[in-house]
């Protein structure tokens, strides 16, 4: 089974990744999002050697805000901005979502000691793609282990 979907979108030219996660409700509150974040930061900085990891949550999503602020602070990152009308909602029929965004640099990550507990499988390197993760497709294909 799987409990959610994590994504790591690489903007190679920008030397930046954008990460996100969605967990099914029964698995909220277990710290999985933060544990996943540490792993993806290790991929970003220890393997891909990129410079910045960014992440954002919808304003009003207090669960995401709490977990995100926790690990962003642990790794010396910062809040970058509060962006109004950042994401369309209902094809433009409803008020757009506001976003709060954060970032962590490679230097922040190293100064914080990195994520030594994370093991990266040398046989299983993530495939580079410029396409954002297709969350719907990933959810539909929910038959993995």
């Amino acid at each position: 089974m799987h409990v959610g979907v994590a994504n790591l979108d690489c903007l190679w030219e920008n030397r930046r990744v954008h990460t996100g996660v969605s967990l099914y409700r029964p698995y909220w509150g277990r710290g999985y999002a933060g544990e996943r974040a540490r792993a993806l930061l290790s991929v970003t900085f220890d393997r891909l050697d990129l410079d910045v990891a960014s992440v954002a949550h919808f304003e009003g999503n207090e669960n995401s805000k709490r977990q995100m602020e926790g690990w962003v602070e642990d790794f010396g990152g910062r809040e970058d901005a509060y962006i109004r009308n950042a994401v369309p909602r209902d094809d433009g029929d409803a008020e757009p979502w506001n976003l709060r965004s954060y970032s962590i640099t490679a230097a922040d990550y190293r100064d914080a000691g990195g994520a030594p507990e994370v093991e990266l499988d040398p046989e299983n390197v993530p495939e580079p793609t410029s396409e954002p993760t297709d969350l719907d497709r990933a959810n539909d294909g929910g038959d993995g282990a």
Partner: protein
């Protein structure tokens, strides 16, 4: 031509004119932005290269014409009006892009070096903010500059203050210029900010340009 964006915007000292390949003087556009016309440091903060030949000037105008035709952008060449030093010269490029499903718009602007320091950026921005809020009906207009671009920072800071907007933050590695990732600073003016400021920029929207582009 789209009804949303007027073909011309006139301010006290500037004309903002939409362009088409058919009507534009491509030789004039090429001469104003080829290698010899560009001064040192002039393009340091903009993702534009000097034109190498006339075809690049044509492509440039064609792309801008397409954006105007799409109905999602007001795309204008900026010319100082009669009485200004350099009147009629293609002094800059101004665009207002609407993102309808976000109910927002954003502006871009580039101005040739000899016209810097005259307050043209603020004059153009004020007119396009009025266009965005009073005509397009968007909720918010944003603008960014690259970190280190002090001229843009000053110009933007001034008009964002005038319209009660705010600096919302700095984004790391947001744009890539000459292969280098660069940070940008973002500002926003909301419709509420614009209305609270009490400012009503002095400008005129001209729906159809009758003179084919040689008027003042």
């Amino acid at each position: 031509m789209s009804d949303l964006f007027p073909e011309e915007v006139r301010t006290e000292r500037l004309r903002l004119e939409c362009e088409s390949v058919a009507d534009a003087d491509l030789g004039e556009r090429y001469a104003s932005m080829n290698e010899t016309a560009i001064e040192d440091g002039e393009l340091a903060y903009v993702p534009i290269e000097p034109f190498e030949h006339l075809q690049e000037a044509r492509d440039f105008v064609a792309q801008r014409e397409d954006r105007m035709e799409s109905g999602d952008a007001g795309t204008y060449v900026v010319r100082p009006r009669d009485g200004e030093d350099g009147a009629g010269y293609p002094a800059g490029e101004a665009e207002l892009f609407a993102v309808w499903d976000e109910r927002t718009a954003f502006m871009t602007f580039g101005l040739r070096k000899r016209f810097w320091g005259r307050g043209y950026s603020g004059e153009r921005a004020a007119a396009l903010l009025r266009l965005a809020f009073e005509r397009l009906g968007v909720e918010l207009v944003s603008v960014t500059h690259l970190v280190g671009n002090e001229n843009s920072r000053r110009a933007i800071g001034k008009y964002v203050d005038r319209f009660d907007g705010e600096r919302v933050g700095r984004f790391r590695n947001q744009h890539v210029i000459d292969g280098e990732p660069r940070d940008v600073v973002r500002y926003e003016v909301s419709k509420a900010d614009y209305e609270a400021s009490g400012e009503r920029p002095d400008c005129e929207f001209v729906e159809e340009r009758a003179d084919g582009g040689d008027g003042a």
